[in-house]
């Protein structure tokens, strides 16, 4: 809401209050500041001048040379303007002046002729193109009357005061108006509101001769008031009114339209003027749309109307889309002689729906959407009539049409001082509270307790808590103390949150970087990772209204997201990359929220990286989380992965995840030029596999005996098979087994490999003898030979 301070002064005395003080106080009472326009900060040394003479420029067809009297002297100015005449009063930017946008004006020569300044347009004086009247669109601003020559221009049009832009919260529709803001100012500075002058109706009524109103659908139109004005003279509004409209952000059109806009800005009540001679029988019917009805609105667009929309009609046709926009068929034109002024209230939900469905949001609809008081039309209708007569735009026909079938009762709100203090944490007395409410014109009555009666325009006040807020903001949020809640609560992570933190810490320690990617993805992502048509992950949660195909389903796997990030990093020439994401995946359920599971997906590539570095990251993670009994098994059927370099991770009998080298086709699909590795772990499941209590194992007292073993086995024998046998046979005496070499090639027969292990034996209670160890060791070798055909080398 743009509030020109010069206009505000009509309703409230703020003499001597600095703009900053005004703004700061209003911010603290709830009207946040969104900017201040101050002409005096940008316009300097622009004065009133009078054009004495205009001559064609000797060397340029499109330029003229003017002699301009600026008070102290007569100066020559060259201009290309075409809308000026001799004797016009115009704003002149003198040599050394500043105009909008910080542009400095200096004297100079234009095609050989001296020019000592510039004649200014509205645009050059800082007005937005959208509010400049058509007649001045690309011409010089011609002042409406004689001003003292040399007078600072800003004083002539009263532009020295700033325009303050306030943010109006959606509950305060009453503040979308000059008077609403003036009320806030008055309440904040202990002033009284000065009401503007209104028309006083004559005793006899003649309006019935000209017009009538019927409301057929009072649920959508609670009140309709109308006035008729005749002997209309359409012309430009006076300059002061045009300037106020422009400052408030509206383009002046003509006196009748301008007055309706002016009063709308004043009170927040939309007003529409119909050309009464175009309204059949002068009869206004407020009704729902008829089947297949259309209307051409004021912006010359034909609108197809839908059921349940409300129109203003005459007996033959729709003449306005109620509360949204007037119809072209009853538009006020320069030829208009008589107008019917509509000041009505409409159901806000209906207006919102209509304006949304036809995609048209107007000054009127945006106000109706937020709610307009039923009591406003009576005041507003007489304010317009006053201005019309005062400005000589027409003659008001005595009498008023006011259709208000179901008058609303006044809202009465019982409230307690104790409750107010309980919520605010204050110590206010009854007198304090009543004082604050009074500033807002909220009447307080006494019944069994206190009852507040808000003024009609405060549609947001309905409950006791609403009054608490009013008291709090007038008391001042800044005056409320600062204390801390008293209850003895303690802060702590849940077990799950703690495990998650541990897991992330382990990954960070392994040099893996955390990423965050979108929860919604493309459906095609699963094709890109070669997932089978029948995979359960294909059953995805779909958005009704996605931003686009690439964000159309909730992800059922993090693998595509991780690959996408690997790809981006690869293509940005990041050499070696380790990343992980911990996040939710979604699977739909019938008539219920989707299942959300937390997944942990790791992706790596780089010169040093291979399957075993990824496996190392995973093992460090599992060890850090104290997960026991995990093992890896070859997986040759996971479509995303290299069939020879992929494993499933089991904890006990649970499959917890898959890891491996990415399939060359997937790698190609993601334009990653190097071998990449991905581990995809079900973190929800993994969390349940952690050992909560870690127990201390005594540090061994007796020495260990180490034996190295190198055996020859067939290629398909796995390390896990060998280890399993070694552990089984080694029993309690075997402390650990570690592979330290795998060799293929010379001296090893085709289809075989040599594998070497370091075995450590130890007993808890004694020093092992060589004999004992030799016995176990040879048993191990025998067993390996028997079960796997292993030959000692």
């Amino acid at each position: 809401m743009r509030v020109p301070v010069e206009w505000l002064k009509d309703y409230v005395n703020i003499d001597g209050i600095e703009t900053k003080t005004l703004v700061d106080r209003l911010v603290l009472t709830g009207s946040n500041n969104e900017g201040i326009t101050d002409f005096t900060r940008q316009i300097e040394n622009v004065v009133v001048g009078k054009i004495l003479e205009i001559k064609q420029h000797p060397n340029a067809d499109k330029l003229v040379v003017c002699q301009v009297d600026v008070g102290a002297e007569v100066i020559q100015i060259v201009t290309g303007a075409t809308n000026i005449s001799e004797m016009d009063y115009i704003p002149v930017a003198l040599h050394g002046s500043t105009i909008a946008g910080g542009v400095k004006i200096k004297k100079g020569k234009l095609r050989g002729e001296v020019s000592n300044g510039m004649l200014c347009s509205f645009d050059e004086l800082g007005f937005d193109g959208s509010v400049i009247p058509k007649e001045f669109d690309d011409g010089i601003l011609i002042l409406d009357q004689a001003y003292p020559l040399g007078m600072p221009f800003l004083e002539t049009l009263k532009l020295s005061d700033p325009i303050i832009d306030f943010e109006i919260t959606p509950n305060r529709s009453d503040c979308l108006s000059m008077i609403g803001m003036a009320r806030e100012v008055a309440a904040s500075f202990d002033q009284t509101l000065v009401h503007p002058k209104v028309y006083e109706d004559k005793a006899s009524s003649e309006i019935e001769k000209y017009a009538s109103v019927v409301i057929e659908d009072p649920d959508l139109c609670p009140r309709y008031t109308a006035k008729v004005v005749q002997d209309i003279k359409i012309e430009n509004s006076p300059m002061w009114l045009q300037i106020r409209l422009m400052q408030a952000g509206m383009r002046p059109i003509n006196n009748i339209v301008d007055i309706t806009n002016y009063v709308m800005l004043e009170y927040g009540q939309p007003i529409h003027a119909f050309d009464l001679d175009s309204v059949d029988e002068g009869k206004i019917i407020v009704r729902r749309v008829k089947p297949n009805e259309t209307i051409v609105t004021l912006d010359d667009k034909e609108r197809a109307l839908e059921e349940d929309m409300l129109v203003i009609a005459d007996p033959k046709k729709a003449i306005a889309l109620a509360g949204v926009m007037g119809g072209a068929n009853t538009e006020v034109t320069p030829e208009t002689k008589r107008v019917l002024l509509e000041v009505a209230t409409f159901d806000k939900t209906s207006i919102r729906k209509t304006s949304k469905e036809i995609g048209l949001r107007s000054e009127a609809s945006s106000r109706y959407e937020k709610g307009v008081s039923d009591q406003l039309p009576l005041i507003v209708v007489n304010r317009i009539c006053h201005l019309i007569e005062a400005l000589g735009a027409g003659k008001v026909v005595p009498g008023l049409i006011d259709v208000y079938p179901n008058p609303k009762d006044k809202v009465r709100i019982p409230f307690r001082i104790s409750r107010i203090n309980q919520v605010i944490g204050s110590d206010l007395t009854e007198e304090d509270v009543i004082g604050f409410l009074k500033k807002l014109d909220i009447r307080v009555e006494r019944e069994d307790g206190l009852v507040a009666v808000p003024p009609h325009y405060r549609l947001d006040l309905d409950k006791e808590i609403d009054l608490v807020e009013e008291v709090a903001r007038l008391y001042g949020y800044d005056k409320i103390q600062m204390t801390l809640p008293k209850a003895a609560t303690w802060g702590a992570l849940t077990n799950g949150q703690r495990i998650e933190k541990t897991a992330k810490t382990e990954l960070l320690a392994s040099g893996v970087n955390e990423i965050l990617t979108y929860s919604f993805v493309s459906k095609r992502d699963l094709d890109r990772i070669r997932l089978g048509e029948n995979s359960y992950l294909r059953n995805q949660v779909e958005l009704i209204n996605p931003l686009g195909e690439e964000f159309s389903v909730m992800r059922s796997s993090l693998v595509p997201n991780v690959l996408e990030v690997l790809s981006r990093n690869y293509n940005r020439k990041n050499q070696s990359v380790r990343i992980f994401e911990m996040g939710s995946v979604f699977l739909p359920r019938e008539n219920d929220l989707p299942i959300e599971r937390k997944m942990l997906t790791i992706g790596i590539f780089g010169e040093q990286e291979d399957f075993y570095s990824l496996k190392g990251i995973v093992e460090s993670l599992l060890d850090g989380m104290h997960v026991k009994d995990y093992f890896f098994e070859k997986e040759a059927n996971a479509p995303t992965y290299h069939k020879g370099r992929c494993a499933n991770l089991f904890v006990g009998k649970h499959l917890v995840g898959t890891l491996g080298e990415i399939h060359p086709l997937v790698q190609e699909e993601y334009s990653i030029g190097v071998r990449s590795y991905v581990a995809d772990l079900d973190f929800n499941l993994l969390m349940q596999m952690t050992t909560e209590d870690v127990l201390f194992t005594p540090i061994p007292k007796y020495p260990a005996v180490e034996r190295d073993m190198a055996v020859l086995v067939r290629d398909e024998v796995t390390s896990r098979q060998i280890e399993t046998i070694v552990r089984r046979v080694g029993g309690k005496l075997l402390e650990s087994i570690r592979m330290f070499d795998m060799y293929k090639g010379k001296q090893i027969s085709e289809g075989h490999k040599s594998v070497a292990y370091a075995l450590i034996f130890r007993a808890e209670d004694r020093t092992l003898s060589d004999d004992e160890v030799n016995g176990v060791f040879s048993k191990i070798l025998k067993e390996l030979e028997a079960e796997l055909g292993a030959q000692l080398r």
Partner: protein, 339 residues
């Protein structure tokens, strides 16, 4: 004999001092002190002395032996040190050459900021509550007193899965779930992903992150709200931080407010981060609306509460001077490794 002994001491001392290395010192030791050394042979002649002379000479012999030993030891230590220094000198390296640093991983900047914020609230007795990203219209809007025709419910603002399911637009549904599950006293923060139907540009993302807080108990007041948020701001942005509470409007709280903190970049003087105002808006807050408490089964006469919410992305961007939200979701490791 005494003279012989002193003579030996003198010559031994000279030899020791002129010995070039440890090996020579050992030879000197053997020569004088060894089993067949010169002192020993002198002592062997003791038997020729009278009983009166013997103890005196014995004393002299011992002290000469001790003295030689001491000098020998001293010089040996010196030589050892010199030799070791020479050895160390030879082993010298260029310490300015690159290190063998182990590269650790880095948290995403959003989570660096989130962890810092969570730590502050954990320290103030808050627990951390979580909830689903896909939630019901009821939890996201209805239970939060959002008017039935509120624009935020529209398809152009909110992503829907079905008529009843949506992508949460705020983390407030977690508050609703908490209040329905737990009796006061409640003190939680609810961080998480949120979604709004916004086209992607430098300042908008259809996915973003919020942190909301909720405190419900008997006698919780706006003063508690102010105190809590002021303390939070001081912990996050530094002790000199000031807070300004302004009235505002939210459907789920009343009275409602917005909180500005004194600009933590310029200290309140005015700079590009605070658009010259000296203040930065970071929080929305208010007293939980009685309608919301009642909807969640909490007696609004007995209990009051406050709630607040902030945008994690915005705070992260302000704090680290990141000017484009898109960069947060690109996950270029060159960004992440800075945190």
């Amino acid at each position: 004999m005494k003279e012989i002994l002193n003579q030996l001491l003198k010559s031994a001392t000279e030899e020791i001092h002129s010995a070039p290395g440890l090996k020579e010192l050992e030879e000197i030791r053997v020569k004088y002190l060894g089993k067949k050394g010169e002192i020993t042979s002198v002592l062997k002649n003791m038997k020729d002395l009278s009983a009166e002379e013997r103890p005196a000479i014995g004393k002299v012999a011992n002290s000469v032996r001790e003295e030689i030993e001491i000098i020998l030891e001293q010089v040996k230590e010196e030589k050892k040190k010199v030799e070791m220094d020479a050895q160390l000198e030879k082993e010298g390296i260029d310490v300015t050459m690159p290190s063998k640093k182990h590269e650790r991983g880095h948290k995403h900047p959003l989570n660096v900021a989130l962890d810092e914020i969570m730590d502050i609230f954990l320290g103030m007795g808050f627990k951390i509550a979580e909830g689903p990203e896909v939630d019901t219209v009821y939890h996201n809007f209805d239970a939060l007193n959002a008017p039935i025709d509120h624009p935020s419910r529209s398809l152009s603002d909110t992503f829907y899965i079905t008529e009843d399911l949506l992508l949460r637009t705020q983390t407030s549904p977690i508050q609703v779930r908490t209040m329905k599950q737990q009796k006061p006293p409640i003190r939680i923060i609810a961080p998480g992903r949120c979604f709004r139907n916004d086209e992607i540009d430098a300042t908008h993302s259809p996915m973003f992150h919020q942190i909301e807080g909720l405190v419900v108990d008997e006698n919780v007041t706006m003063a508690d709200l102010k105190g809590t948020l002021d303390m939070f701001a001081k912990r996050l942005f530094g002790n000199q931080t000031k807070t300004k509470f302004r009235p505002h409007y939210f459907p789920f709280t009343e009275p409602s407010g917005e909180v500005d903190v004194s600009c933590f970049k310029c200290g309140g003087e005015g700079c590009r981060f605070c658009s010259g105002s000296g203040w930065i808006e970071i929080l929305g807050c208010g007293m939980v609306h009685p309608n919301v408490l009642e909807e969640c089964g909490i007696d609004s006469e007995k209990y009051t509460g406050f709630a607040f919410g902030m945008g994690l992305d915005r705070i992260t961007m302000l704090k680290y001077e990141i000017d484009d939200i898109r960069i947060l979701f690109e996950n270029d490791v060159r960004l992440i490794k800075q945190f």
